[in-house]
Symmetry: C2
């Protein structure tokens, strides 16, 4: 082999070091390039695509509603295509079936509210802008030589006004798409009228094709496995309430049980996921607001009326987020460098656990209220429990005395710790001295828990408002019986 | 008057009680309806419109860039209309000028990045889907009777796949619009090919009109007062850093200066706005992420290269948000029911103010770094200052001794406060006793400030990373001179 390839010394060296089975030296330039290309394709194309497919698969497995939506889009497009396939239908819309397909593609959204919103916007804006465009076209044709000038100015002005209105938040939330369609239709009709002869016929055909497209979208979105923005929002808030409760329980338990942390790893991971639940609440503001906006477009469905107070979900979300801010800062206590002495933890542990358990019970009850859309008969008791837990914790706080300098003497003349230790130990043997520094994390935890309780109460008020305005059912007696059982043996969360 | 309207007793009574100038009794039914209608129109139409106009005016006055964008939309539409007005141009695109107008309306966004993103998406998706559609059309025509079946299935499958890909977050962030255009074009070409004869001519004309539309958009968006998503993001982060600094200073000052709060109202309002600054940071996650996504599409501009690390802004934003969570919870201390005794506040006041001032100085320096896109020569000193302030505060904490029960004795047998008071007072006259409950807000404030310092350090690291990757300028010597002056006389924020 070496003699055959005398000119290629490098290859001989490579063969001598490797095994004889290696075929690399045999391959010519073309084969090398092929292998290199194959590697490149694998690296640049196949691997990312495989990764993408795995990701896509997981998304579908996590939320089958998304797969359903894709099937519905395919179905809607196949349906609307019939206007091309059948000659009478195609001729019926004057060869403008294109607009029906376009409408379906652009308007079909993953939930009913968004689809309705876009349908209404598209139809109303098209009709409005179409009439206005025909009017401007008529004026322009009457004005003789100034025709182009009249059209140009009106397009500029209306485009300016419609674009500007898209910056007004209250308008944008509902009519953003409509404003765009308005500009589009107005330009097409008024400018297009300059070249098209039968403008009114054309406008009529477009409106009718758009109407066909929107009807198909609405029928498919409402009657085939409908995905309601309202229900999604309702479930989101309910899930977030549960997550908050889990996080709260988890964080407080984590803090007070730091020492015996020799559990297995799987459990740890699960706990971690639960601890991080509040982060979902922190990040769901945008979703909640857009969902609430879309839900307003939806007709009555499930237990939601047409005039269901969707805006209150935003309010509940805001109240929950304020709780989540408290939980976020609980991590300060967990990660604090100086750990509080074990007996201090013990001293506060019980009261803190009681408060956190009372608080999370309220959150779970709120989630339950949302889930069953019924008023809670035991909420008052739970809130009372939480408030007594707060008071108990405050009493516990009051039982920890602190010495500080009197105001008069406060010239940086702080008594050293040793001195105090001595003095106290000799005075009372059952107490021991430590600095505020040592118990800072516990104190912070306590303050955050107390504040969190207040914020949970705001959340309760918001959910109560929703329950009243949305006419949630009264809690049945059977449930009340269950509740009293639960009350006798409160599950201590850990 | 009374005798004239004998039949209308009600009116007479009304006249007797009112002044004689009142003309209401004179008006007949029609006039009453007219007045009622006028009132209704005023209430339903004019008032909301006036309110809307005022709101719109304020939006334009606050951010003239929005007005500029609207003018640019008007200009782009006027320009693209020329393809209708001039016969040779209109014939040149085979009467398909409509697609150019449509492209301008749909693609023109308020910043360069978004416009680029949509342009690229539209052109690439149109070409891809167009070729694929022509291919499918060819296969369908070859398959004889199965033509409709082949077309229908391929539309269903591609619509399904493209819609599904829009759910993959990493794909959606960049190619959401492209996926929609892909479905649209593919359906129009493959289904439309069933009725249209010169399919390839049509496709070519559409591509060329879309190219014309996108070119006009890109030229106008880049060369007429360009609004860069990147610059907007950069300024947003910079402004947020300043707001955080203001909030931090404000909250701490507010807490320690609660007593002499008899300033005038205007000042109070201004302070309130400053205090609430952190809320902007809390709510800017979505904006930052979408801006960072759009900025990646923008060519080099100002001090930003094409490969500017925009992703780091999201990281910086996240770090800032963690600071904002701390600030949000500072409000707990400010609103705490039991106020800490004045001398305790005094004891901690100085150290807290020092730390908060050191922290906010860092935030302001970071904002300055962003503003001037230069590295900071004094950041190391500032961080050192902050860390010493933290240590000082911790020393102050350590100087506050606390007595608690020893672990052995902890059977709910807490020594009452009175006992402790007595003992201590007799022991040492310069100290006085209080409970943990009294100093809880101060302790929480201290814990939050210390945590906030740690989080600010993370922010510093993130901004430093940006400064290194984006090759910020080195700080000039002149600036260093200024800095050392500032260091000698640190402005105490209040």
């Amino acid at each position: 082999m070496a003699s055959k390839e005398a000119g290629k010394l490098e290859w001989r060296i490579s063969v001598d070091n490797g095994t004889t089975e290696r075929l690399v030296p045999k391959s010519g330039l073309i084969e090398k390039i092929f292998l290199w290309l194959k590697g490149l394709v694998l690296k640049v194309m196949v691997d990312p695509i495989a990764k993408f497919m795995r990701k896509a698969w997981r998304i579908g497995a996590d939320d089958p509603a998304k797969v359903v939506h894709c099937l519905k889009v395919g179905l809607a497009l196949s349906l609307v295509s019939i206007f091309y396939y059948m000659r009478p239908l195609y001729d019926g819309v004057g060869g403008n079936a294109m607009w029906a397909i376009m409408t379906v593609v652009v308007v079909f959204e993953s939930n009913v509210g968004a689809t309705f919103c876009k349908c209404v916007n598209r139809v109303v804006a098209t009709i409005l802008a179409g009439s206005l465009g025909i009017g401007v076209h008529w004026v322009a044709t009457q004005s003789g030589k100034a025709e182009i000038f009249v059209i140009g100015c009106s397009v500029f002005l209306f485009a300016f006004a419609a674009t500007y209105s898209r910056f007004v938040p209250s308008f944008k939330a509902r009519f953003d798409y409509g404003a765009m369609i308005f500009i589009l239709t107005f330009s097409l009709v008024s400018v297009g009228g300059y070249r098209v002869d039968k403008l009114i016929d054309l406008a009529q055909q477009r409106v009718s094709t758009i109407a066909i497209g929107t009807s198909i979208c609405i029928i498919i979105t409402v009657f085939f496995c409908p995905i309601w923005a309202g229900s999604q929002l309702h479930r989101l808030v309910q899930r977030n309430l549960d997550k908050l409760a889990d996080s709260l329980d988890g964080c407080v338990a984590e803090y007070f049980k730091k020492k015996d942390a020799s559990t297995n790893e799987n459990e740890d991971e699960e706990t971690d996921v639960k601890l991080q639940g509040f982060k979902c609440v922190l990040n769901s503001k945008g979703t909640e607001e857009s969902m609430a906006n879309l839900a307003r477009w939806e007709p009555a469905h499930g237990s939601f009326n047409f005039r269901h107070p969707w805006k209150l979900y935003v309010k509940i979300g805001a109240a929950m987020r304020r709780c989540a801010y408290c939980l976020e800062n609980l991590s300060i206590c967990i990660n604090y460098e100086a750990e509080a002495p074990e007996h201090v933890k013990k001293h506060f542990g019980e009261a803190c656990m009681k408060l956190s358990s009372a608080s999370s019970k309220i959150l779970r009850e709120l989630a339950d209220m949302m889930k069953n859309t019924r008023k809670s008969s035991k909420m008052d008791f739970l809130v009372f429990d939480m408030n007594s837990a707060v008071q108990e914790l405050q009493e516990t706080l009051k039982s920890v005395p602190i010495k500080t300098n009197k105001p008069e003497e406060e010239e940086e003349e702080v008594p050293s710790e040793e001195d105090n230790n001595k003095g106290e130990d000799s005075e009372e043997d059952m107490t021991m001295s430590m600095s505020l520094h040592d118990i800072l994390p516990v104190a912070t935890l306590v303050a955050l828990l107390i504040e969190n309780a207040a914020r949970i109460q705001t959340t309760v008020e918001a959910v109560d408002e929703l329950a009243n305005l949305a006419d949630f059912e009264q809690d049945s007696k059977k449930k009340t019986g269950e509740n009293s059982n639960t009350k006798q043996q409160p599950p201590i969360s850990s």
